[in-house]
Symmetry: C3
Subunit: 467 residues, 3 copies
């Protein structure tokens, strides 16, 4: 049996019994997925997933970074190269390599997500290994060919009430339009991710702004025209269901420059020759500008700082971005957010959701900030911390200072579609286990825990993201 | 039932049994409260507390910051404005707003402290909510009018052996004199908190030093006269029971300047126009000067660094200091304390108690420092970490390197009088739970745990603060 | 009874049963000790240890730093002074002082290690205290005089399969030669620790390089000659069994200078008048040079950064290095290692083992780095964290991101010979407890945990250090 019905619930029998009661009331709740990176073309085109390797291995940096760290070449896993140099194309060969190294994932959330999908979607009950590789491959391949394994069928089966994807301002949201016009009832919305036109270090930044001008008809030669173009695209995204924006900056720095300074800085970054500190200042200023726009149009603002992207230059050159070489760094919030908070922190109608990859900030900075400023809330444990221990530390470090109601429930943040139910299930189990311990130690009554379990699994995400 | 007799004890039955045995031997010990911020006029004048809102809501930044973070206006909670602009004056209306939002405190220590007071002082046994708001209000108001709910009666009921308040060097300690002269047996002592005359960024710093000169008759136009004035006030405080000093600096920086440099720096800060780094250097130098004086007069020195005060300028302008907008920052000790330690770290007769709001420093810096230097000890988990998880992490991060005997027991650090028994009770329960786990995992024998439980609840604080 | 057979296993009965089953399969495995600081002359000369104080107190900075922190003078513990000033010479008097303060070690790993040695080596079953001091002293002294308590007999009794010591490049490895030529079967190898000739801040650095030139016949007036001398000494060490190098730098900084720059920097540091930043840059450059050599000669590279050595100048002047005054500092890896990783991070034949004294780096930096780069692995919890809670946090913070197979098992890093079995036993127990909780929460099957318990206790260290 790959997954146990009591997995992740506390070991102590009495505590497990409470956790079990809580979990039973939330396990079947619909999934609210307000932040993620699934591909909208899946839902628009509803084509079958090609094969087991393309579904589980080739696109998932959680999976191949671990194999790579233990000496498996990315070429041998079929990861495409930037220059089109040949890589493994046989999906069964890729799958066998993956299966032969499956023990590397022991103790990791990746293992739990995969086993959950193997068991619940593909009715597999033996452990994946070199021995069972072909059994797995054949079973998964056979199922993927069936109509009830196409994206929309899985969407329904996963009980997804709403899912957000993430698009660039330059995206025309064609897939979202197709979905809407198709008459299919699934709710797939977009989110506004302006990094390509906000971050001077983003590849193609100058051309991206030109394209933004063309797309909107705004005069992007001036800062005010550029801001106007953002407003236009935000309205367009909102018309396609967006309720939020998303900002993946290297730091949490914000700024609040005067109009003259801001205009001058814009002209510098527009040249494509900004220094590192000018680029940082422009990103900082744009967070504050985006907060101002959010106050107007009601889009919830998400700040995801602290990842040093593309730490491995040789890998970047050969395979491109998002290949498991983004490494977290120490992240300051108290000083970095102050300019933005000085201007908007007391706004009760603004909602800014903060994430971190630096767990030290939870109890020291983020919980005290969110436990004070009306405009701030805390996003869930993210990325490397989307894991049982990560979630547990999150609750232990955050709750005593910020409470539960300055947090926003769970989001999966994934591009791995079959992992979505598993990820939400892990969060529900870990949260119920945490609540059960509060009940067992008489810090909370069970009826309160019941209410909280529902809020953490469903209600808070829906409210925080205005869904 | 609001509070359970086994609250906060470990869930595992065998571990709980050990914890229970330990706790039973310390639960009734007198309270040693060597550091806090209760108002000495309460004990001097012994007037009734005015009403439930003024007792529990209006003055407690733990309470109103949480309500504020969720959109409740401070005006609606009766928090007074700096300019006297009108705020809510109806205590029952304030109380109802508080009660209606009581669920926000789920999982927080504030909730535990409040429930403890509600249950033990006011015999309430239903949960506070919008529904029970008036029941609570009436019960509390009725009791507060009784003579046995006046401050001195509560002091006795709380079984407080000694409590320290905190005063500025400019304070004439009138209330402490009144207490002493009243013949009341309660032991209320002061502590020397020189920030107003040591921190160039403190409001009124220059005038404060002038006042210090007037008060002491010392020539505060020179650094040596200024130091002499400190010595005089420390002696005055000591005569009023003080056994400690307290230093609330933004960082832990210390310095050890030569006399010429120090004198020159003093003249710069005396102008009221010191730069940020000059102000920081002066505070740093004064920590070392205070350590020198402590070596002479035996006052225990407490350093409470790492809070960025008044992070929210709009709130500061409207409501003043201490309104829940002080946010912790990353704090270095290893480099910062070195100048002071180079001079005094090996002194066995000096006692410096270090606190932190940056938990990362416990295992990395503070425990190794306290586990080596004779002059250093570690204060308990503080402020946001005066909480079950905070205390637990403190023990887990500190004990293996510094042991128990380089720590100083618990202090409540509170201005919320009715929370004092609850806070000490939480610490006793958490410590007994921690000790019980050491016993259960055979890292400690139960007779040793027994002795330690007593030390942590009572003995260490008394010894460390020389009480 | 000083040690309990279930010590350190989880308190929950069902979890303990699993942990017990796991532990029973690994408790008797031979000890692989790939990194430590025992004295090779012990094994070479096989002389009796002189007395209880010289065995347990005088040379162990874990022990005397704690006593010192509580006011015991190092002179009274027999710690020798630099200038030969008189210190206590009566071992029984030293032992009694130690015994009288033994309660200070409650809750520390030192206590567990000592009790383990007292019980298993000396058949003591009462707790050490002032009362039992003489009983202990006599028993231990009596046993130390027996042939089966000589170093080689203990080595066999401890079931050590291989132990590494650590030597300077200037060491002629005389003791290692003696051991080898003696015909004794014990495997004692060396490790290459070049700090004395790599760190410009090391005492005698310039003269050390001169000596290196003399020893190797290389022309150390040029950087390339100096590197050649390293290569020669590494080969010499390798011939004496070395499989690893060890680098104890204050930070993890690496650099990758061009040859002209590197040569110029070498000439600066050779003058003995390098600035702090030049010294730091030279150490940084040398880590990259050492990685290059490791790629050639196959020696595994260990980086142990983050200790600020000799924090207490008065103590250093009186008693010398390694007296318990080395204090950890915040340590960055993401930026610091980048130059080295840019050049060698993707090498599958290079093995760099990273250690830390800054636990915040585990989940934020080290696990993500080791979970990506083929050249990187993570060393075990080290020094202050060679402890039950430290090891536990290590597993919780590392496993979910890096898995188990990017870690390298346990090493004891000790100079306290009798503590070696205790330290490995603690690691085996804590790891089995951690694995048991994964089993109980169904994150791992028990047969996998079984396999992992063996790997963590034995297999990973052997493989990672190429033993």
């Amino acid at each position: 049996m790959l997954i146990h019905e009591d997995r992740l619930l506390p070991a102590d029998p009495a505590t497990r019994a409470v956790a079990r009661r809580l979990y039973d009331t939330v396990k079947a709740l619909p999934i609210i997925s307000p932040h993620g990176h699934t591909d909208p073309s899946w839902y628009a085109e509803n084509q079958p997933f090609p094969n087991p390797a393309q579904l589980f291995v080739v696109p998932d940096h959680y999976v191949f970074r671990m194999l790579y760290s233990q000496g498996v070449r990315l070429e041998d896993l079929g990861v495409p190269t930037v220059d089109g140099a040949a890589v493994e194309t046989d999906p069964r060969a890729i799958w066998r390599r993956f299966a032969g190294h499956y023990h590397l994932f022991r103790g990791t959330p990746t293992r739990m997500w995969l086993d959950h999908a193997f068991a619940t979607l593909f009715d597999l009950d033996q452990r994946l290994s070199a021995v069972t590789a072909d059994l797995y491959y054949d079973r998964i391949a056979e199922r993927l060919a069936r109509p009830d394994y196409r994206p929309r069928a899985l969407f329904d089966r996963f009980n997804i009430e709403v899912i957000a994807t993430t698009e660039s301002p330059l995206d025309e949201l064609r897939h979202h339009r197709t979905i809407r016009e198709s008459g299919w009832a699934g709710r797939v919305i977009t989110a506004y991710r302006p990094d390509p036109v906000v971050d001077p270090d983003f590849a193609g930044f100058v051309a991206n702004i030109d394209a933004l001008g063309t797309l909107t008809g705004c005069d992007v030669t001036t800062f005010s025209g550029y801001l106007e173009a953002h407003r236009a695209r935000r309205a367009f995204f909102k018309a396609h269901g967006a309720t939020s924006t998303d900002h993946g900056h290297p730091t949490a720095l914000t700024a609040d420059l005067g109009p003259v300074e801001a205009e001058a800085l814009y002209h510098v970054v527009r040249t494509g020759r900004a220094t590192a500190s000018e680029a940082e200042l422009f990103r900082a200023q744009m967070l504050t500008e985006m907060a101002a726009m959010s106050l107007d149009d009601g889009l919830v603002m998400q700040i995801h700082p602290g990842s040093m992207r593309n730490h491995n230059p040789a890998l970047l050159a050969r395979f491109g971005r998002d290949k498991g070489a983004d490494i977290p760094t120490r992240t300051d919030y108290v000083h970095a957010l102050k300019p933005l908070l000085d201007r908007f922190g007391n706004e009760r109608d603004l909602s800014i959701i903060l994430f971190t990859l630096d767990e030290t900030a939870y109890s020291r900075e983020l919980a005290p900030l969110a436990g004070h400023y009306p405009a701030l809330k805390l996003g869930p444990a993210w990325w490397f911390y989307d894991s049982p221990e990560g979630m547990r530390r999150y609750r232990e470090l955050v709750t005593e200072t910020a409470g539960f109601y300055n947090t926003v429930g769970f989001n999966d943040d994934t591009r791995a579609f079959p992992s979505i139910p598993a990820r939400h299930d892990v969060a529900r189990r870990v949260d119920c286990g945490y609540l059960a311990e509060l009940v067992m130690t008489h810090r909370l009554d069970e009826d309160e825990a019941q209410e909280l379990a529902h809020d953490l699994a469903y209600g808070l995400a829906k409210a925080a993201y205005r869904l």
